[in-house]
């Protein structure tokens, strides 16, 4: 790793977490801890929602999967815009109207404590497993790159995340995610530029796109109505709609992001901005 790599690595891992803890050191009330200061603007909400769904796993697994099975699996996101419109128009006003802290609190008030407990329990179980994989996968990369012990890296990353989340609550998460997504965007743009520069002489973007097209890597839209085909525009719309509805509408990791908005308008715009 060169100096630039170390700056990005340490800045992302340590600097952002330290900044999040420092900026939110004054938070004392439960309301602020769980929902933030309720002054979060739509840009922060949108970026935070985006960062929450884009874990390290996204960048490690999706490119590999996309190169192996073309863009099939990407079609699952076709249902996302419809789901976000429904969340924005139906779920969000409902949560804000009743002033709940969590999606599961709403379940408890609408139904009973057993339903709330089941929803919250399933979320914690699911998130617990997901967090394990989310930390484990990048830890393998770091362990290989740095030659450090895998178990120590897992403990270190977990400890770092727990520290700024526990000390700063929801606002620390939103703040740090805004910076993390900025690093991700800069990385994506840099990778794309490097990719163009490193293309073989005489090939160019046009030639590379033709090769990708000939290999079937650009077939993002499949209008087939054959029910035996797994990923089409229609299965993406239908399956993706319900997948995204459950994730963006009822998963606390997402709900918490937009409940921290200054107003219903900011929360709604944040979701629409994220979609666009």
């Amino acid at each position: 790793m060169n100096v630039a790599d170390w700056v990005v690595f340490l800045g992302t891992l340590g600097g952002i977490a330290a900044y999040g803890s420092w900026r939110t050191r004054q938070i004392r009330s439960l309301n602020t801890y769980l929902k933030g200061r309720r002054s979060t603007g739509w840009v922060t909400i949108g970026l935070s929602v985006m960062a929450t769904q884009a874990s390290a796993i996204t960048f490690l697994s999706i490119p590999g999967q996309a190169s192996r099975v073309a863009s099939d699996s990407c079609r699952i996101i076709f249902g996302l815009p419809l789901a976000l419109i429904i969340v924005s128009g139906v779920f969000l006003p409902m949560y804000r109207r009743f002033g709940v802290y969590t999606a599961y609190e709403f379940l408890g008030r609408r139904f009973d404590w057993k339903t709330r407990l089941l929803g919250a329990g399933l979320f914690l179980l699911q998130r617990g497993f997901a967090a394990g994989v989310t930390i484990y996968a990048p830890a393998i990369i770091l362990s290989t790159m740095l030659g450090w012990r895998l178990d120590l890296i897992i403990v270190f990353i977990g400890f770092l995340v727990i520290v700024y989340t526990v000390t700063g609550g929801s606002e620390a998460v939103s703040l740090t995610q805004k910076l993390q997504i900025a690093v991700i965007f800069v990385g994506m743009v840099t990778a794309f530029i490097v990719l163009l520069i490193e293309l073989p002489a005489g090939l160019g973007f046009d030639g590379a796109a033709h090769i990708a097209g000939a290999l079937g890597k650009l077939q993002a839209v499949d209008l087939s109505i054959d029910p035996s085909r797994r990923y089409t525009l229609w299965t993406g719309l239908l399956g993706g709609l319900f997948l995204a509805l459950s994730y963006f509408g009822t998963d606390q990791s997402q709900v918490q992001r937009y409940l921290g908005g200054d107003s219903l308008r900011e929360s709604r715009l944040g979701l629409m901005f994220m979609r666009s």
Binding site: F98, L218, M272
Partner: protein, 50 residues
């Protein structure tokens, strides 16, 4: 905790307050239209380079 939910109507009528958008319905239509455009562009891109 069960029972009827206390409705708070303050949140029902916040306009989007964006230039050119006076109701949330028009914002949603714009987002949906944008999505349709992206799908069409993806299909065109694939056809051009196939």
């Amino acid at each position: 905790m069960t029972g009827p939910l206390p409705p708070d109507q303050r949140f029902d009528d916040e306009p989007p307050d964006l230039p050119g958008f006076h109701a949330w319905r028009s914002v949603y239509l714009f987002v949906f239209g944008w999505f349709v455009l992206v799908v069409i562009l993806l299909a065109v891109f694939a056809r051009i380079f196939s």
